[in-house]
Symmetry: C2
Subunit: 187 residues, 2 copies
């Protein structure tokens, strides 16, 4: 149990022992519910075939929601960015999760990301605007530029989040207000 | 799942989301094994009735081991301290876990700790020496002093870990070498 806990991000062998002891001391209040929650997550949560979000239903609740704007598609790097935008509550369209950004250094090419799927989803789809809500990092902006080029034949309006996202910062670390402002002032 | 993860020591809402995503992306490699390990721990691990250690067997493996010194009892504050001493491999006797230290500030009195049980275990038991391996904090040393007094009628030798444990430091944070030296040079 400790070895597995030590594999979680941000935890080492010592903090894993601390967590394990904390769990063993709170068996009914924490250990059993957590074991059940993890088991349930493993059994029920899958990646949405449409957008790449995690949910217990297929397609995910965001894709299945009938009252969302069908003409706007928001492209995000990863699922926490989607969660951050949903928490901000400023976007009511659909999402597309890339699963990362292009990175020559890490050997991540267009074929490693969900870019071809994005292009086919947009081409002939109901979308009139694609918002590239990628992190304001070098890799994020390179990816945004590449995707904008790929989407050119589809004839949709391609926008980016407004300046307001601090340069070098990551989407998941922003407060909801900044995120909402950046979304409204997109250009 | 995220709410429960956020209750673990050292984790907040943001790191809990990060851990949850990490788990969902490694379903077969980490999420399923971890869920099973936690479930198994909840079902099988109990606190030893003799010493207070956590184990899948009753009494625990340390209490049940036939080749350990029956005449020396080592009193520790909590289970991680027992684990630290076992990792150091310098002690081959039995253990007694107090479950904390006396603290006027936190309202922890002798009745909240496993002290009465320790006294009855030592009185008329096979032990000739009791080692008080408590943290070198004010509360730890106060507790050691109190226990030494309580054990006086039992007529056993009561020792403490040698200086070598840095004053103000905690047992679980020491390297194995320092811990072994401190144990050997007990006075």
């Amino acid at each position: 149990m400790i070895e597995l806990i030590a594999k979680l991000p941000g935890l080492g062998p010592r903090s894993a022992r601390r967590v394990a002891l904390h769990l063993l001391k709170r068996k009914d209040g924490l250990l059993v519910p957590l074991a059940e929650a993890l088991g349930e997550a493993a059994a029920k949560i899958t990646q949405c075939n449409t957008c790449g979000n995690f949910d217990t239903v297929q397609p995910c609740a965001v894709c299945a929601a009938p009252n969302r704007d069908e003409t706007t598609l928001c492209v995000v790097e990863d699922v926490p960015d989607l969660w951050a935008l949903e928490r901000a509550g400023a976007f009511r369209g659909r999402y597309h999760v890339l699963g990362g950004v292009l990175s020559a250094l890490d050997g991540v090419g267009p074929e490693d990301l969900s870019i071809a799927k994005l292009v086919s989803r947009v081409t002939g789809g109901p979308f009139s605007e694609v918002i590239l809500a990628l992190n304001a990092t070098v890799d994020g902006q390179t990816t945004a530029h590449y995707i904008a080029e790929q989407l050119e034949p589809a004839g949709v309006t391609v926008t980016r989040l407004a300046h307001g996202v601090p340069v070098g910062g990551e989407l998941d670390h922003l407060d909801d207000g900044t995120l909402a402002t950046a979304l409204r002032a997109r250009r």
